[in-house]
């Protein structure tokens, strides 16, 4: 039936129609995650409104403050973008392994070690080599240690059967303890009395701000990493193999795909991105490695990645949205007298509702490409 109907369309439809048809198909396919994602966010906000009403505050005031604080002015936009920058990279640390079917939640550890490695790598270079070279070496060192750390989690998963979620979380605690040990020990700048830190980078060796915008270059690096990851996952044979392996490991092995190498490779790349986030925190914000870089970016990255359905491109708007929510959180505290936990409640509600909405995929006929094929 379908075939003959299609054939009929082919005959009667002009060249314009036949060109529109694949477009309609693509739109239908692409519209599903956008529509479900957006309605998930709206539904989450609605549930959150009930919570706000329950504590006796006005959701309208709250949402207008969220707009003002997150995106309502040029200052607020820059505020949101600054907060989004580290989340782009830490979200990739979750998204890439997730496409292979691995849930990695220990990006915080790779970030901490990346920061320390970057600071340590900078020490011999400051003053003796040009800033660009020092920054490249710092980034390489941070990515290497982050890659080793999370890549080892992937190795344990594939070759030793250790649960990667637990392993990565526990290794994050080890990494943070190791960072504290180094920063308070051999790498400590003796002048950092009450806040043990590594030697502060001279301004010339720091990553500066984007021209005309009060946001550091980490944002551009993060966006670039997301785009590269998208291309890698969606358009290359490696990405294809990785997705096959994530869909069904056994089938991938039967096909002769190098599943072990794919897992270690992609987890290492993911850890490298988290390590790079640590390097950017040191080189663009803190100026030295210290306990302040462990600020929960690794954990917020998990939220971003899940909200983005582990799609590297979707991470960009979601990270900016969460950056905006965090930026607005301060204004909500100050103007409405609500505790900081309000924003955590909102993030939690969004997370749960969006996960719930995952179950809606494929349930609406309107998003079925075949439907559009027939109608066109």
């Amino acid at each position: 039936m379908t075939i003959s109907a299609d054939a009929g369309v082919e005959r009667t439809g002009g060249p314009l129609r036949s060109r529109l048809r694949p477009l309609a198909e693509t739109l239908a396919r692409r519209a599903e995650p956008v529509a479900i994602g957006l309605s998930g966010i709206l539904l989450g906000l609605a549930v959150f409104s009930l919570f706000i009403l329950a504590v006796g505050k006005s959701p309208t005031t709250l949402f207008s403050l969220m707009y003002v604080g997150g995106f309502g002015s040029w200052f607020s936009v820059q505020n949101s973008l600054s907060r989004a920058a580290p989340l782009l990279l830490t979200a990739l640390c979750v998204a890439l392994p997730a496409r292979l079917g691995l849930i990695i939640i220990g990006g915080e550890g790779a970030l901490a070690l990346g920061g320390v490695a970057a600071a340590a790598a900078a020490m011999p270079l400051v003053g003796s080599s040009p800033p660009w070279l020092a920054l490249v070496v710092m980034a390489a060192a941070a990515m290497a240690i982050g890659g080793l750390w999370i890549g080892f989690v992937g190795y344990l998963r594939h070759y030793r059967g250790v649960n990667e979620t637990i392993a990565s979380l526990l290794m994050a605690y080890i990494a943070i303890a190791l960072m504290n040990h180094l920063v308070e020990g051999v790498l400590r700048d003796p002048a950092s009395l009450n806040k043990p830190s590594t030697t502060t980078l001279p301004v010339a060796y720091m990553i500066g701000k984007l021209p005309g915008v009060d946001v550091h270059w980490g944002l551009v690096i993060g966006v670039a990493a997301c785009v590269v990851s998208y291309i890698l996952i969606e358009t290359t044979t490696w990405g294809f193999a990785a997705r096959i392996s994530g869909g069904n490991t056994r089938a991938a092995q039967v096909q002769g795909l190098p599943v072990g190498r794919l897992i270690v490779g992609f987890t290492a790349l993911a850890g490298g991105f988290a390590g790079l986030a640590g390097m950017i925190e040191v080189a663009a914000v803190q100026g030295s490695a210290n306990a302040s870089i462990v600020a929960g970016y690794g954990y917020t990255g998990i939220l971003v990645s899940f909200l983005a359905r582990h799609n590297p491109l979707a991470i960009i708007p979601i990270a900016i949205l969460l950056g905006g929510i965090e930026a607005a959180g301060g204004l909500i505290q100050r103007r409405m007298g609500l505790p900081d936990a309000t924003v955590l409640v909102l993030q939690g509600v969004l997370f749960v509702v969006i996960l719930f909405c995952e179950t809606l995929y494929g349930r609406f006929k309107i998003f079925n490409p075949e439907l559009w094929t027939r109608r066109a």
């Binding site: 002015s73 040029w74 936009v77 009395l193 803190q286 210290n290 306990a291 302040s292 301060g330 505790p339």
Partner: protein, 371 residues
């Protein structure tokens, strides 16, 4: 062309923002006559500790005429605090900011202050350096180790095992001052008393604080104090095990009724009131403000029911002596716990001695290691 586009977009956003601001917050527009002060805390405002001490100070200032206060809690020591400060300046119209966590100072307060030279920043605990740091920045702190010395006096009378315990966050000068003072106060009563210290490694890590408290009590310590951001867990755990407790940061006596001896408290209300009144009068705020018991920067919790009459007398006499100022908790001859002499006989350091800011040892009688 591209330039025009960006410009237009920015202009559009600015206009939109102005409209929204006017619509959302009527009456919150910048009031020129009122002094708006922003307080920023690294943890929750009701932590029975460091942040609560500052929030109680903020509450005192809030009650002053012509002053309004904006507060934000749980702000990490990252770009977040920079943006929070800027947000308070740009969206709330704050002109005096108190970012209270130690880790905010370098680079965050210094960075934002350089960008907003007309706004005043006063930071708790940092070492402001003339000529190097922006002139609109200053730092303030209190000699709270004086309070830990008095804690030690009550502990010296209360302990039966002659072992007292200290749960500490990190081996940094401000913490080491407190540990040493606690033991030196106790040794004023009995020179055979020893103090076991356990470092948790983090400012706020409830599980390890509870473990450390239990470990100290298992080793025989019967009076416990601490220096972590929130002493709540330590106080409750110790009192639950039957040990006496000396408080820190704020009055924790409601958490350990009957077991609470006294506590070293901040009196930030006085400090913030001084700053606010100076700002209202247009006087300079000062860039390096320090004070102790004498200046009313720190105070002691009321003595608990477990404090004996003898201990009360000694406590009152010592407090009176210290309140005159220039009382040396640290005086020679003094050895560290490795046997090396750190202060020669005849030499003494009163509370404002600059040497104490870089103190790096544990005194003889403290069991524990700084590394």
């Amino acid at each position: 062309m591209t330039h025009d586009l960006t410009f237009n977009r920015r202009r559009f956003l600015q206009t939109a923002a102005a409209g929204v601001l006017a619509g959302v917050a009527p009456g919150q527009a910048f009031a020129a006559d009122a002094l708006k002060i922003g307080f920023i805390y690294v943890g929750p405002k009701d932590d029975y500790g460091y942040n609560q001490a500052h929030a109680e100070g903020a509450a005192v200032v809030k009650a002053l005429p012509g002053v309004s206060v904006v507060e934000e809690e749980n702000v990490p020591e990252t770009v977040d605090v920079q943006k929070t400060m800027e947000s308070m300046i740009n969206l709330d119209g704050a002109t005096l900011l108190f970012p209270t966590s130690f880790g905010y100072f370098d680079p965050h307060v210094l960075t934002v202050a350089a960008k907003y030279p007309k706004i005043q920043f006063r930071h708790c605990g940092g070492l402001w350096k003339a000529g190097k740091d922006p002139i609109n920045v200053g730092s303030y702190f209190g000699y709270i180790f004086q309070g830990q010395y008095l804690n030690g006096v009550t502990a010296g009378y209360a302990t039966k095992s002659k072992k007292i315990g200290f749960v500490a966050a990190k081996p940094i000068p401000q913490v080491l001052q407190n540990i040493n003072s606690f033991l030196l106060g106790a040794r004023l009563v009995d020179p055979t008393i020893t103090c076991q210290v356990i470092f948790t490694g983090e400012w706020s890590l409830a599980v390890k604080e509870a473990e450390a408290t239990n470990a100290l009590i298992d080793q025989g310590a019967d009076v416990i104090t601490c220096h972590v951001d929130s002493p709540k867990v330590v106080v409750q755990t110790a009192a639950g095990r039957g040990a006496f407790v000396c408080g820190y940061h704020v009055n924790q006596s409601p958490l350990a009724p009957g077991k609470y001896l006294t506590g070293a408290e901040w009196a930030w209300g006085k400090v913030y009131t001084d700053f606010a009144k100076k700002a209202q009068a247009g006087q300079p705020l000062g860039n390096f403000v320090r004070g102790g018991l004498k200046d009313g920067f720190v105070k002691m919790s009321p003595l608990g029911p477990a404090v004996s009459a003898e201990a009360r007398n000694k406590f009152d006499a010592t407090l009176a002596e210290m309140s005159k100022g220039q009382f040396s908790v640290f005086k020679g001859p003094l050895k560290d716990n490795k046997g090396a002499e750190v202060i020669a006989a005849g030499k003494s350091f009163p509370e404002d001695a600059i040497e104490l800011e870089s103190l790096s040892y544990l005194v003889e009688g403290v069991h524990g290691s700084t590394s």
